[in-house]
Symmetry: C2
Subunit: 150 residues, 2 copies
């Protein structure tokens, strides 16, 4: 531990936090919903998006395209999103959120709202505000790094 580069411990803590939060989140969400699926639904509603290609969605969430294909296929099978061929580009598709998707998103939001008071005692808003800029900057930097390394 003591002779480890600081970065090891730093990213290790982040990894464990993400894992614990993801699991708690998934358990709080309606049966069958996952963080990834909720994120997609939320993206459409928050940004008021009508249609967006899988590739664009993948870029927005920093995941690979096959990952997005898989998530979207699952969401289409449960009617949370609709997918059609892009009339202007035969390669591409266009994804849109369905009414059922919007309803599910609302249910998720409600479920998550109930989680806030549970997490509150663990980390105060002020603490998050202190760390957020650093995290955001780090995320942006890492994302840029990834694209270079490609």
């Amino acid at each position: 531990m003591t002779d480890d580069p600081l970065a090891f411990e730093f990213f290790n803590e982040i990894g464990i936090i993400d894992q614990l939060v993801s699991t708690m989140l998934t358990n709080a969400l309606p049966k069958g919903m996952t963080k990834a699926q909720f994120t997609v639904l939320n993206h459409f509603v928050r940004l008021d998006i009508v249609e967006k290609s899988p590739a664009d969605l993948a870029r927005a969430f920093q995941v690979r395209r096959p990952t997005m294909t898989s998530t979207l296929a699952r969401m289409e099978s449960t009617s949370l999103v609709a997918i059609r061929v892009d009339p202007r580009d035969g390669r591409a598709k266009l994804v849109s959120i369905t009414a059922a998707g919007r309803q599910m998103r609302e249910k998720c939001i409600a479920a998550l709202a109930m989680m806030i008071p549970i997490i509150e005692p663990v980390i105060a808003n002020t603490e998050m505000q202190v760390m957020l800029p650093g995290l955001r900057k780090l995320r942006i930097g890492l994302d840029a790094l990834r694209e270079k390394t490609l």
Copy 2:
């Protein structure tokens, strides 16, 4: 975005950072090695552990036992660890690192050392030092929360 609870954005940044770092890490590691497997090897060497049960390892890494069973099975198949029945408890098993496991861990350490200078420009040590205590506290709090919720 603007009307989201702060926690959403906070944990979202953490999730993306973890994902990006995990992928970079896995790519840097020797072929076939993963973060989870490296973590197990590193644990044995750093803490100078001879034998430890899968359940203890699962607790140490905050993962479920089936997850550890799966990871250990894979590591045993590649001779990175050895597993035997606990002579004092018929239910339990005892895991130990092999010579090959130690060698692999050394190779991983070397590979990761080369990553440090790549990450350095993205986040300075001083920044990590500033955030680390908060992250550690958060991780500990979430872990306690999980056990309560169980």
